[in-house]
């Protein structure tokens, strides 16, 4: 028997990342200053990011695909993980959970996402998804002395396990139907046998939709999001609101547009009401929130709804617009969380929207940055949020979904109210409580990067848009 080692070059980033995560875990035992662990993690991620330039291709049969599409998502994950670590360093010390495992778990979770983005096979996809999810469950409950954090972890875990069940159901039905878990194999089989209207195929699409819908927090599978976002450590909320969501979209794009490409009509029919419901639930319930983390949880649900439009369009332009949106969302959302996290200080929770009253008076700089992020989340030019929405809307109108875009813009006008309310509290009310900001160099860097990104992409989006377009070429 002749064992041949598969070509490992396409999977180098994942391998190095795993090595990094293990290294961080070990080094944590000897390094006393946990800030050093954070710096090592970030430097490591930056180095791994360079290997993304390496060769592309398929390996392990076709189980693992490294292409432009996966690379783009991996960049989102890297941006996400580095920014999240930057805002974590001071925060986890304030929360008195300054443990090194935090960083290795974040890295493991990121590896899971990377594998998801590159999965060419449903089993690999499941592997990545579980690695990501399990690490995030632990991170959500990282403040172990806080009952809310515990609740968040448990809730996330139970519902996450439930959704994994759906995923496995879906996968097994597909396997039973087509005899393969390979995405391209599934697509070929469906076309060959003309299974477009097969009931079990529809059932499996539905099951997979539920599972992925859970990951991206699309309504009606969003129930976990507000509680988990509120309870989890704020830095992890930021991390979760971008990473797993982007990973979820990565697999949605891959699975639906590759494996179920032939059954497009079916899943688009399911996705349209799902997207509308997601935008409605996210934007309308957010109006009533008084906890900023909860509010941003609903806002992140709403943003999943906009990004879903890109999937509904179901062509390369749609995917590119969705990816572009997620990249922009990563910057603006983590930017907003970077401000939120600064309000948390020793003995002050700072997560009620009333804590923002008069912030412009006491901390004009923080208020001005928050203003930029809030307007970007609303989608007002000249911020990046506008570019993201514009691209998605253009793709959708081009595909003939003008009415859907009208629905989306109306919901985005509704969303202006709750984002503006934060601005209003900061600028138009007088301070009631004295808020002291826990600033640090690292969170300053995070804010500088995110603000610059939001403004620069807002005015000069060419490079990012071109990059997204290149990434989906030959998808």
């Amino acid at each position: 028997m002749n064992f041949q080692l598969p070509d490992l070059t396409p999977i180098v980033p994942e391998l190095l990342m795993t090595a990094l995560a293990l290294f961080v875990m070990l080094i944590d035992l000897v390094v006393k200053k946990k800030e050093a662990v954070a710096v090592i993690s970030m430097a490591g991620v930056a180095l791994v990011a360079l290997t993304l330039l390496g060769p592309r291709g398929e390996t392990f049969g076709t189980m693992f695909i490294s292409d432009g599409y996966s690379t783009f998502f991996k960049i989102i994950f890297f941006v996400n993980v580095i920014l999240s670590i930057l805002i974590s360093i001071k925060y986890i010390a304030i929360e008195r959970v300054n443990y090194g495992e935090y960083y290795s778990l974040i890295l493991f979770s990121t590896i899971g996402m990377m594998i998801m983005a590159s999965a060419g096979d449903l089993i690999v996809l499941y592997l990545g998804l579980e690695l990501m999810a399990l690490s995030t469950y632990i991170l959500a409950g990282f403040i172990r002395h806080d009952i809310k954090s515990n609740e968040a972890a448990l809730k996330y875990f139970l519902l996450g396990a439930f959704s994994s069940g759906f995923l496995l159901y879906g996968i097994s039905i597909v396997y039973g139907l087509t005899g393969t878990t390979d995405l391209k194999g599934i697509a070929a089989f469906i076309v060959e046998r003309g299974l477009y209207d097969n009931v079990s195929l529809l059932l499996s699409i539905l099951f997979l939709m539920v599972a992925f819908g859970f990951k991206i927090a699309a309504a009606p599978f969003h129930m976990w999001a507000p509680d988990v976002y509120e309870g989890a450590p704020t830095s992890i909320t930021a991390f979760m609101s971008v990473g797993p969501k982007a990973a979820g979209f990565a697999v949605i794009g891959r699975v639906f547009l590759v494996a179920f490409a032939a059954a497009r009509v079916d899943w688009v029919t399911i996705l349209i009401p799902l997207a509308i419901l997601t935008m409605a639930v996210g934007n309308i319930i957010a109006l009533a929130q008084t906890n900023i983390k909860r509010m941003l949880a609903y806002s992140s649900i709403a943003h999943a709804g906009y990004a879903l439009l890109g999937v509904i369009v179901a062509n390369n332009e749609g995917l590119a617009s969705m990816m572009n949106y997620l990249m922009i969302y990563a910057f603006m959302n983590i930017g907003a969380f970077a401000v939120i996290i600064m309000l948390r200080s020793e003995g002050f929770k700072g997560d009620s929207i009333y804590d923002y009253e008069g912030l412009s008076k006491t901390h004009p700089m923080a208020a001005a940055l928050m203003l930029i992020f809030m307007f970007s989340l609303t989608g007002i030019p000249p911020t990046a949020g506008f570019i993201g929405k514009l691209y998605i809307f253009m793709a959708a109108v081009n595909a003939g979904y003008t009415w859907l875009v009208v629905v989306a813009v109306i919901f985005s006008a509704i969303s202006a109210y709750f984002y503006l309310r934060i601005v209003m509290y900061m600028y138009m009310r007088d301070p009631k409580v004295t808020v002291s900001l826990s600033t640090s160099f690292s969170s300053g860097v995070a804010l500088a990067v995110t603000t610059a990104a939001v403004l620069i992409i807002g005015v000069f989006p060419t490079a990012l848009v071109e990059f997204a377009r290149m990434a989906v070429k030959g998808f």
Partner: protein
């Protein structure tokens, strides 16, 4: 196409931004320096805009002072600026307004001074941008971006109910704008993936599409104008905004809606615009009469002027949708007039408000004895607002009514009632504030100081200049308006020729 050796329009847009950045790095305690930077910037912007006035070629409808650079090539977006006879006066009005806003706020703004002047300068820059943009993307960028500083101006420095007013303002305009955004995207895709407004204007669109797009754009413009029944944000916003905010709103911001109708709705969707003329005229007439009648019941000075804006802007939309030369030229001129007069009235109210901190009419009375100079200034603006001959209001309203009568006698007659009621509420207002017994609350108020007088003088000059010799300003518009009407319909052109003859006779 730009025969000046420097990019004048870009300079006009970026100079205020530069000024605001300069203020941004100022220390919070250097308030006086901050104010001076704002003043110098706005004056420099105004002076810089004067070549537009002198160098403008009045013989062509073509865009002038054009600048065009590729900006976002993958969406075929250009940084494309230019002005024609429709927009040039509005640009000049914007640069002038900026100075007045800085001057009038000199003493009345005492908190967050730095942020205030940054907001004013940014608003100025975005306003100029809106009127100069010839690329839809660029236009939308300025159109929306201007909401941010305006929202802050109303909400931070406004009156007691400012937050409500600011949010209402923002949400109303945003809902309208996003519908227009969808319309813009549809145009972009249908018109061969271009945001170039001039290119898009040369195409014809299917009638049903025109109708949908007309209403999508209507949503944005009608809210800004504001037309009845989406005008309700205006009284709140005008009333609660600080003086400078009210002036910007009255003089420029609400002109953006009417400008939108002229620049986009008519040439892009001419058939839909013609088909919708009865609806638009009806809405205009309702706005004229409704706004005027409501004015009679107001007890708050600023609210009264705000409702009079609804009425006056009704005249503007009436003129535009009369779809003949007089109507449209009158409409454009009336936009300028309304900007000058209502701006001046808000400035004047601001002057007494700074002294008494009351906007209620009952708190005044006999001001003519206490502040005689102020009273005479106010008198001129009141008469201009009514439309007395030899003031600018007369010319604008006369042309509009002429156009209105030519379109439909009924519309003309109904619109005239608006003028009559207008004379009623303005004169009654003047009587209650300046004549009658001296209200004890206004005893010993100082008359206008030099700064305040300087603020109002340019406006007085303009009121009389346009009133006596409107041709200086009308001559800018002729080719552009003729071209516009040509585009709207060939039938409209014959009408325009006939109308021109009538106009010659009048002169």
């Amino acid at each position: 196409m730009n025969h000046l050796s420097y990019p004048i329009l870009s300079l006009l847009i970026f100079l205020p931004i530069l000024g605001s950045l300069l203020i941004l790095i100022m220390r919070r305690s250097w308030e006086l320096l901050t104010k001076f930077i704002a003043l110098v910037t706005s004056i420099a912007t105004f002076l810089l805009s004067l070549p537009l006035f002198t160098e403008f070629d009045k013989t062509t409808h073509k865009m002038q002072f054009v600048e065009r650079h590729s900006w976002i090539p993958n969406w075929n977006i250009h940084y494309f600026l230019g002005v024609d006879g429709i927009s040039i006066l509005l640009v000049l009005l914007s640069t002038l307004t900026a100075i007045l806003c800085v001057l009038i706020s000199w003493e009345s703004i005492t908190k967050k001074v730095k942020e205030f002047y940054i907001s004013i300068l940014l608003t100025t820059s975005f306003m100029i941008g809106v009127f100069c943009s010839l690329d839809f993307f660029l236009f939308y960028l300025f159109w929306e971006a201007m909401l941010i500083p305006m929202f802050l101006i109303i909400g931070v420095w406004g009156g007691p109910n400012r937050v409500y007013a600011a949010i209402k303002f923002f949400l109303y305009t945003l809902v309208g704008s996003v519908l227009m955004l969808v319309g813009i995207i549809v145009l972009y895709l249908y018109g061969g993936k271009t945001f170039n407004i001039l290119d898009l204007m040369t195409r014809t669109y299917p009638y049903t599409m025109q109708l949908w797009l007309f209403w999508a754009f209507f949503a944005a413009f009608a809210v800004k104008v504001p037309m009845w029944p989406v005008h309700t944000w205006l009284p709140d916003a005008h009333t609660e905004a600080p003086t400078a905010g009210s002036v910007i709103l009255a003089a420029i911001l609400i002109k953006m809606g009417a400008y939108g109708f002229l620049r986009f709705s008519l040439p892009l969707f001419p058939e839909a615009a013609k088909a919708m003329t009865p609806v638009m005229l009806t809405l205009s007439v309702i706005a004229i009469i409704y706004g005027a009648v409501i004015c009679l019941a107001q007890t708050d000075l600023k609210r009264l002027i705000a409702y009079s804006s609804v009425s006056h802007m009704g005249f503007v939309t009436l003129g535009i949708f009369a779809l003949n030369t007089q109507g449209i030229e009158g409409g454009i001129l009336q936009m300028i007039n309304h900007g000058i007069v209502t701006g001046a009235l808000f400035l004047s109210v601001g002057i007494v408000y700074d002294r008494t901190h009351s906007r209620l009419i009952v708190d005044y009375g006999g001001l003519a004895t206490v502040m005689p100079i102020y009273a005479s200034f106010f008198m001129v603006f009141t008469l201009a607002s009514i439309g007395l001959p030899a003031t600018n209001g007369f010319i604008g309203e006369f042309l509009i009514l002429l156009g209105g009568f030519m379109k439909s006698k009924l519309v003309g007659v109904l619109a005239c009632t608006g003028i009559i009621i207008g004379a009623g509420y303005m004169l009654w207002l003047y009587q209650r504030i300046f004549f009658m017994e001296v209200n004890p609350k206004v005893y010993g108020l100082p008359d206008m100081n030099v700064r305040e007088t300087i603020t109002l003088i340019p406006l007085i000059i303009l009121v009389l200049w346009i009133g006596v010799y409107p041709n200086t300003f009308l001559s800018f518009m002729h080719p552009s308006v003729a071209h516009l009407l040509e585009r709207v319909s060939s039938a409209g052109m014959q009408e325009a020729v006939a109308a021109k003859a009538v106009l010659e006779v009048i002169r």
